[in-house]
Amino acid sequence: MKFGIVVFPGSNCDIDCYHVLKDVLNQEVNYIWHDSEDIEDYDCIVLPGGFSYGDYLRCGAVAQFSKAMDKVKKHAEEGKLLIGICNGFQILTESGLLPGALVRNKNLKFICDTVEVKAENNATPFTNQLKDGEVINIPIAHGEGNYVVDEETLEKMKENGQILFTYQENPNGSIYNIAGVCNESKNVLGMMPHPERASEAILGNGDGIGIFKSIIAFFEGGQKND
């Protein structure tokens, strides 16, 4: 399976994602520079964490107009897999690929911690290797992770099983304890927690690897789980 990791000026989790996919999971991985126009086809694109464009204006607001994002949008429209982690999640909401928005944490603090995250729906390309309702420990590191969305959209998302991860204890004020959501067709995931920072037991925590393994299992299975 071939992964592409988009590198924006200010991305800082790109190398971690690369390492997990390449060295831990033995997948083919390339970096995609944000300014490239001629981008080859990938099976899954990763928008990594960090502070793209210095978080100027709003987190993720400027990155959505990077040249590479045209390709990313097309990729998602074709139904291919796309995952945004932390700043990547912010870029996905800013570009309209996911509903809602991420605003300043309720307590105004940048929170760097490992938190318990519950898998709410394991019938998706991103969660099929997790047990339904499984609680995993994943690090978070963000100042703007407070997910907001209007009530009507939230209800639709609940009905459609788009809320994939919730916090056991809400760290940032997110509505409905939301930590990660997917789009309606379930090929685009955005999440604030960093599974790539928790994908090797030898480094202290392997809980995040299930998300990447799910993506690979889904791709190799060749069909949607839902």
Partner: protein, 80 residues
């Protein structure tokens, strides 16, 4: 043509920064201050365009980039 663009959080979105500043103002002695909301002022030099064209451009700029209409509202005024 120059424009001042004001971007503010929608009323339904909590503003913890504003809340903290309200507390500070109260502590300064302005006890009657009830609410503070923080927004952004963005000054845009539009170059040589007509008023009509400027308004058209600004609406698109605000919808697409300057404001996130999921959480923010915007208004602008042409200065000269």
């Amino acid at each position: 043509m120059k424009a001042n663009v004001y971007v503010t959080l929608k009323n339904s979105i909590a503003d913890p920064q504003g809340f903290a500043i309200k507390g500070a103002l109260n502590k300064m002695g302005y006890e009657s201050v009830e609410d503070v909301r923080i927004g952004k002022l963005i000054e845009v030099e539009l170059g040589n365009v007509t008023k009509e064209e400027a308004e058209k451009q600004l609406n698109v700029m605000c919808e697409k980039l300057l404001a996130n209409t999921v959480i923010e509202k915007y208004r602008f005024e042409l200065v000269e």
